[in-house]
Amino acid sequence: MIDDTTVRHVARLARLRLDDAEEQVMREELSGILEHIDAIRAMDLDGVPPTTHVIELENVLRADEPRPGLSQEDALREARAVVDGSFEVPRMD
C-alpha cells in the first residue's frame, strides 16, 4: 500500500504538481494497481538474470566524424522563449 507521504515524495521526484484531490485518487489507484503487480514479488526468481535488451547486440559504434545535425534555428524553433540563440528559462531558486 502507498501512503500520502509516498505519493507526495514520488510526485516530487517525477516533477509533477498534483492537487489534493489528485493526490488522493493517485494513492487509491496506485495501491490498487500494485496489488496486482505484487504477484511478481511472490515468484521464485533465484538465479534468474535480468533482461534489459531482448535482441543480442554487440556495442554499436560509429566513426567519430562530424556530420550534419539539427541547425540552431531548427533546434530553437519550437521553444517558448529564446534569448541570444539559447533557450530562456526562469531563474533557479
Binding site: 502507498i2 517525477a14 516533477r15 511478481i40 514479488r41 533482461t51 539539427l70 519550437e78 528559462v89
Partner: protein, 479 residues
C-alpha cells in the same frame, strides 16, 4: 465499389495500369477524411498530400508504392506537420524532422495524408486517453476502436486510408487491429527504426503496419525494415520481406497457447479462434497445445517495466524546448506546474507508477524483479519454438467494448493487453488477423513467431486469411 474499397495493392496496380492518378486516389480519401465519421484523424495535410500526389504523377516512372495515401499515428514525427502524440503537452508542436520509417515510405511513394488519433503518449487500450477526442469503432460507433493506435486502425477499417502506421509497446497495433477487423503487425524488436517515434517504453516500442490484407501489411513492412544510423537498436535486416503467396500450411506446426485460451477470454472470442485453427488444420498445419506458464505474469511485469521506462522518457517534457508551458517565476515550479497541468490522468498515473518502481528502496522489489520475470518469458518462448513454428492465441480477450466502460478502472483497461504483452516482452514478431465475428463484432487471431520469422508469419497469416475470407467492410459504412 469505389476507389476506397480497393486494397493498397489493388490501388498500386490501378496506378501502374494508368487507370487512375495518384491525385484522384488522394482526393477520394481526403473527401472521406474531411467527413471523418469515426473521428480517426487529429491533423490533415490536404494541401501537402495533393502537392506530393501531383509530383508523383509527373514522375517518368512510378515509385514502388505508386503514390497512394498513408495515415500516420500521431506518435511519429513529421516535419512541419503538427505532431502531438495525443497530448496537450505537445499541442501545436511542429517537429523539425521526419521519422525514418515515414521518410522511407515517402521515398517509396507513399503520400502522408494526416496524423491519426491515439491514447496520450500511446498509453491506453481504447484511444479514450487521447487529450483531444474519442475515436469511434467503425463497426459500432458506441464502442472503442482499441488502442493506443485506435485512429490508425479505425481509419483503415473505415476506408479513409488503405493503410497506416501504428506503434506497439504492449499491443497497441495488434489489439486495435483485432477490434476493428483489420490486419496489424508488430515486427521483431529492432526491425524498424524508432528515430522520430516519440518514445514511450524504449525496450518495447516498435512501429508497424495496419492494412486490410496481409499482403498489404507485408508490402508496407518491406519498405520500412532495416538498420538506421539514427537508432542504434535498429537491426541489419537478414532477408527482404516478401509479399506472402502461401496457399497451404503443409508441415507447419502451430502451438496454441493454453494460458491464453482459458479464464478471462470471452467464449465468443475463443470460439472464433478455434474455428480458425480448424481451418489451419485443413490447410495442412499440425495444431498442438503449448504452455507458456509465465505468460499471465506478463501483465504485471509489463506494468512495472513500461511505466518505469516511460517515467524516464517523459522527463524530457518540461515546456522549455517545445510545447506549451505554464508561466512561473522559478524553474522548478515551471516544470512541476507544466507537467501537472498538461499531462492527462493515465500518463500521470504511469509516470508515478514508474517513478515509484525505480525509487530507492523499491527498485529491487519491482523493477529488478520484473526484469527477471522478463527473462523467464523470453526463455519460455524459446522453449516453445523448439517444438512449434508459430504460436496462436486470441489477440484480445474481448471484442470492442463500449466507450466509457473501462475508464473508471485502470486495471480493467490494462487487461485488454493480456494476450499481446508476452510477445512484446520477448521482442517477438506477432500479427493479428481478423478471424470471425462474435456478437457482430470482429475477433482477432494473433500469430507470433521467433525473432526474424516475419516471412513465415506473413505466409501463415496470408494462407489463413484466404480460407477465413473475412469481410473487412464494416456494416453500414457510408460509401
Amino acid at each position: 465499389m469505389g476507389l476506397r474499397d480497393l486494397t493498397a495493392t489493388e490501388q498500386i496496380a490501378e496506378l501502374a495500369a494508368g487507370r487512375v492518378s495518384s491525385l484522384e486516389l488522394v482526393d477520394a480519401h481526403l473527401d472521406a477524411i474531411a467527413r471523418d465519421d469515426v473521428e480517426a484523424f487529429l491533423a490533415v495535410d490536404a494541401e501537402g498530400a495533393r502537392a506530393r500526389a501531383r509530383e508523383i504523377d509527373a514522375l517518368p516512372e512510378r515509385p514502388p508504392l505508386g503514390g497512394i495515401p498513408l495515415g500516420v499515428k500521431d506518435a511519429l514525427s513529421t516535419r512541419d506537420i503538427v505532431t502531438t502524440s495525443g497530448s496537450k503537452m505537445l499541442e501545436g508542436f511542429r517537429p523539425v524532422y521526419t521519422a525514418t520509417c515515414v521518410a522511407r515510405l515517402e521515398q517509396a511513394g507513399a503520400v502522408v495524408v494526416g496524423k491519426t488519433n491515439m491514447d496520450e503518449f500511446a498509453m491506453g487500450s481504447s484511444t479514450e486517453n487521447s487529450a483531444y477526442k474519442n475515436t469511434l469503432n467503425p463497426w459500432d460507433h458506441d464502442r472503442v476502436p482499441g488502442g493506443s493506435s485506435g485512429g490508425s486502425a479505425a481509419a483503415v477499417s473505415a476506408r479513409e486510408v488503405p493503410w497506416s502506421l501504428g506503434s506497439d509497446t504492449g499491443g497497441s497495433i495488434r489489439q486495435p487491429a483485432a477490434l476493428c477487423g483489420i490486419v496489424g503487425m508488430k515486427p521483431t524488436y529492432g526491425a524498424i527504426s524508432r528515430y522520430g517515434l516519440i518514445a514511450f517504453a524504449s525496450s518495447l516500442d516498435q512501429v508497424g503496419p495496419f492494412a486490410r490484407t496481409v499482403a498489404d501489411a507485408a508490402l508496407l513492412l518491406k519498405h520500412m525494415v532495416g538498420r538506421d544510423p539514427m537508432d542504434s537498436t535498429s537491426l541489419e535486416w537478414p532477408a527482404p520481406i516478401d509479399v506472402p503467396m502461401a496457399t497451404d500450411l503443409a508441415g507447419l506446426r502451430i502451438g496454441v497457447v493454453e494460458e491464453l485460451m482459458g479464464e478471462g477470454i470471452d467464449p465468443g472470442v475463443k470460439a472464433a479462434v478455434e474455428v480458425a485453427l480448424v481451418k489451419a488444420e485443413a490447410l495442412g498445419a499440425t495444431i498442438v497445445p503449448v504452455n507458456l506458464p509465465t505468460a499471465l505474469s506478463g501483465l504485471a511485469t509489463y506494468y512495472v517495466l513500461a511505466p518505469a521506462e516511460c517515467s524516464a522518457n517523459l522527463s524530457r517534457f518540461d515546456g522549455i524546448r517545445y510545447g506549451p508551458s505554464a508561466e512561473a517565476d522559478n524553474l522548478l515550479d515551471q516544470y512541476e506546474v507544466t507537467r501537472g497541468r498538461l499531462f492527462g490522468p493515465e500518463v500521470k498515473r504511469r509516470i508515478m507508477l514508474g517513478t515509484f518502481a525505480l525509487a530507492s528502496g523499491y527498485y529491487d522489489q519491482y523493477y529488478g524483479r520484473a526484469q527477471r520475470v522478463r527473462t523467464l518469458i523470453v526463455r519460455e518462448f524459446a522453449q516453445a519454438f523448439e517444438g512449434v513454428d508459430v504460436l496462436a492465441s486470441p489477440t484480445s480477450p474481448t471484442v470492442a467494448f463500449p466507450i466509457g466502460d473501462r475508464t473508471a478502472d485502470p486495471y480493467a483497461m490494462y487487461l485488454a493487453d493480456v494476450c499481446t504483452i508476452p510477445a512484446s516482452l520477448a521482442g517477438l514478431p506477432a500479427i493479428s488477423i481478423p478471424c470471425g465475428l462474435s456478437d457482430g463484432l470482429p475477433v482477432g487471431l494473433q500469430l507470433a513467431g521467433p525473432a526474424f520469422s516475419e516471412n513465415r508469419l506473413l505466409d501463415t497469416a496470408h494462407a489463413l486469411e484466404q480460407v477465413i475470407a473475412f469481410d473487412t467492410r464494416p456494416p453500414g459504412l457510408a460509401t
